[in-house]
């Protein structure tokens, strides 16, 4: 009964959306903004990756919010899970030697990869978020492989805060010097397609990478703690 009603309701919504979609043909260029970014993006931001220039420069306020949301999720998760009394530490069965050694071997490599992705966000696909996730996956691996090892919470918090603060301070510096706009790209754009280009974009992306990495690590940390 309930599923029938649900189906009816959903099909009504589907009908409505279909009517609306009728005016949005698929695969046809339709936005002037997108074209503007593709045409002007390189000059205005100095980033070869237009998505990055949109994310970190044109729509950087969204990105600030996005980082904040992740931050909230990490804190919220901590707040929700931390309310329980800490249980007795159970004896943890250590991982096998192969796994342990493999993890220790891979860990720095993954970190390096994450750093690479973060730093090259304005040149190649990727960026702070992706890099941060890769970094966090390194820690996840460490949790799985080297059981009992924990990342210091203080460290996570510090990196998290500093990452966020760097983002904001860069923005405020922009407000102060760069034509009085918050988050304006006040550094020199540099040469396209080189590592040191695109003004503040790499700086922000590194900050984001650190922040996202530490936040996700924090989330993993909390969940691992809960599962123990």
């Amino acid at each position: 009964m309930k599923s029938i009603i649900s189906l009816i309701l959903l099909s009504v919504i589907a009908l409505g959306i279909a009517i609306s979609l009728d005016k949005i043909p698929f695969g046809v260029p339709k936005t002037k903004i997108g074209d503007y970014y593709i045409d002007k993006g390189r000059e205005e931001t100095g980033a070869a990756n237009i998505v990055t220039s949109v994310v970190v420069n044109y729509r950087c306020f969204d990105t600030l919010g996005e980082v904040t949301i992740l931050f909230i999720a990490a804190i919220g998760l901590g707040a929700v899970l931390a309310t329980r009394r800490k249980k007795e530490k159970r004896e943890i069965e250590p991982a096998s030697l192969v796994l342990y050694a493999g993890c220790r071997f891979l860990f720095p490599l993954i970190l390096l990869f994450g750093a690479y992705i973060s730093i090259h966000g304005h040149l190649t696909p990727g960026g702070g978020f992706q890099g941060g996730v890769v970094v966090a996956s390194a820690f996840l691996l460490a949790y799985l492989g080297c059981r009992g090892r924990r990342v210091s919470e203080t460290g996570i918090k510090t990196v998290e805060s500093l990452g966020g603060l760097v983002f904001i301070v860069v923005g405020l510096v922009g407000l102060a010097v760069g034509g009085h706009y918050f988050l304006s790209n006040f550094l020199s754009k540099g040469e396209l397609n080189s590592l040191f280009s695109a003004g503040v974009i790499p700086i922000i992306y590194i900050a984001i990478g650190l922040k996202v990495g530490s936040e996700l690590t924090g989330v993993i940390d909390h969940l691992v703690e809960e599962s123990e």
Binding site: I17, T31, R59, L64, T68, A79
Partner: protein, 489 residues
């Protein structure tokens, strides 16, 4: 000149910095929200005279509006910023001693971020950015509802989260459709182009966006999360959720309808929806035995009244609606703060357990009484001029329908009066069981309450303090052409 962007960035930065402050001293952390909102209040007040002349448009990153994100600090935005800063500041003072359990650092961070999100929503001029700030607001409220971590809190939080997530998905679909149709995300730019598309294809994204935002705004069929969440959260958070969060949701709905879509035909529907929300909220509140649930349902009723006023869409009505919104923020925050310590002292949320509180906590009870009277709309409190304006706007329509509807509104007020007066009676005129030692709320609790009381009385007696700002805010809502022109140029 101060930039409105500071209203968002400074609290955000302070929130990010809280863990670092925490390393210096644990005690310092709880003063940071106070500092942040004191700053915000000062900035917002400084901005008022300027925005009354013309709205300030801030380009983030220096890109011209359709291409970059921009903030629009018009009268509406600054009015809401002031409101958020006032409520945020006072509730932060309240929380100094009220929040005792759990990780205080996390509480203060989430609290700061919640209100930052709210400020962002009211200031932004970009619909996707609005979505992002909206999510900041929502997600931090999910976390804060669950902050105590008891059964009720967790249950309410998960229900709130599920409904909120469905809503934000709808919102995002709507934004995607709008982007597909018009290729822009700037609200002013969208508003400019909205007439170029066929009405039906615009209608679907409008419905989706209204639904998505309406969940936070607690419009009738979408408000099932509200009584649970408001009653289970810590009282300081209930005050913010009731006083700020739903108002901001409502702002978003109104902004989208008035400015982006500019449709007038849906207003009639919203009028009825508002009345329905009002009546259902009041009726549910009437039969509650739990004081916080009662207040939560009363918030639904008040929201219904505001929706009703806004949907009448005359200058007078929108002014009245905004006034009602301000008075609801002041009144309901005060009520939740007062109730917070009463519950804390009596250990139960049942109305019957609050009997005799007039003797145990005379000042808190006084604050509660004044808040209740203000919500009901009795003079000389702030609820009266706002209700007066709404009734006036409805009668100025000179339609039998609106006269009938305003009759229903006032019927709702009678029900509202009935349950609030019942609580007031219980506070003062029923013998409490248990000890009747005088045990007043601490000073940090009383100071914000009595600042609210002062505001309620002062604005109630001298509404002119607000009416100028409210009038220009109303005209900002109603004149979309001016809005578009001020943003796009």
């Amino acid at each position: 000149m101060v930039s409105p962007v500071l209203l968002i960035v400074v609290p955000l930065g302070l929130a990010f910095a809280i863990p670092l402050f925490g390393f210096i001293s644990k005690r310092i952390v709880k003063y940071i929200p106070i500092a942040a909102f004191a700053f915000n209040l000062a900035v917002a007040l400084l901005l008022i005279p300027e925005v009354l002349k013309h709205p300030i448009v801030v380009r983030i990153g220096g890109f011209p509006p359709p291409f970059g994100i921009n903030l629009v600090a018009g009268p509406v935005g600054v009015l809401f910023s002031v409101l958020i800063a006032v409520a945020g500041l006072l509730v932060a003072i309240y929380a100094l001693t009220y929040i005792k359990e759990g990780s205080k650092e996390k509480y203060h961070m989430l609290y700061l971020l919640l209100l930052t999100g709210a400020t962002g929503v009211v200031l932004t001029g970009d619909i996707f950015n609005l979505f992002v700030f909206f999510e900041i607001l929502c997600i931090s409220s999910y976390a804060l509802v669950a902050y105590i971590g008891d059964r009720a809190g967790i249950e309410s939080a998960i229900k709130y989260l599920i409904q909120g997530a469905v809503g934000s998905s709808f919102l995002l679909i709507g934004i995607g459709l709008l982007y597909g149709l018009f290729g822009t995300l700037n609200m002013a730019d969208l508003a400019q182009h909205i007439e170029s598309a066929s009405p039906i294809s615009v209608f679907v994204p409008m419905v989706l966006i209204i639904t998505g935002l309406g969940i936070e705004a607690a419009i009738f069929p979408l408000n099932a999360w509200l009584p649970d969440a408001h009653s289970s959260a810590p009282s300081s958070i209930s005050a913010i959720l009731s006083g700020i969060a739903i108002e901001v949701g409502l702002y978003a709905v109104v902004r989208v309808i008035f400015t982006i879509f500019g449709v007038s035909s849906i207003f009639m529907f919203l009028v009825f929806l508002g009345i329905l929300t009002l009546l259902i909220g009041e009726m549910c509140a009437f039969s509650q035995k739990n004081i916080k649930r009662m207040l939560a349902y009363s918030s639904i009723g008040q929201i219904g009244l505001i929706v009703f006023a806004m949907a009448m869409a005359t200058s007078l009505a929108v002014t009245g609606g905004l006034f009602q919104l301000v008075s609801h923020t002041l009144g309901k925050s005060l009520l939740f703060l007062a109730v917070g310590y009463m519950i804390y002292r009596s250990g139960s949320m049942e109305i019957s357990s609050l009997e005799g509180m007039g003797k145990r906590m005379p000042l808190t009870s006084l604050a509660f009484t004044i808040g209740a009277f203000s919500i009901v709309g009795l003079p000389p409190f702030v609820g009266f001029p706002s209700k007066f304006l709404i009734v006036q706007a409805a009668l100025a329509k000179e339609a039998v329908l609106f006269t009938g509807l305003i009759g229903l509104v006032l019927l709702g007020t009678v029900i509202e009066g009935a349950y609030f007066f019942r609580v007031v009676q219980a506070l003062y005129f029923k013998k409490g069981n248990g000890d009747s030692e005088r045990n007043e709320a601490p000073v940090t609790g009383l100071i914000p309450m009595f600042i609210f009381v002062t505001l309620i009385i002062v604005i109630g007696i001298y509404p002119k303090l607000l009416t100028d700002v409210l009038n220009s805010a109303a005209s900002e809502f109603l004149n979309r052409i001016d809005y578009i022109r001020s943003v796009i140029g």
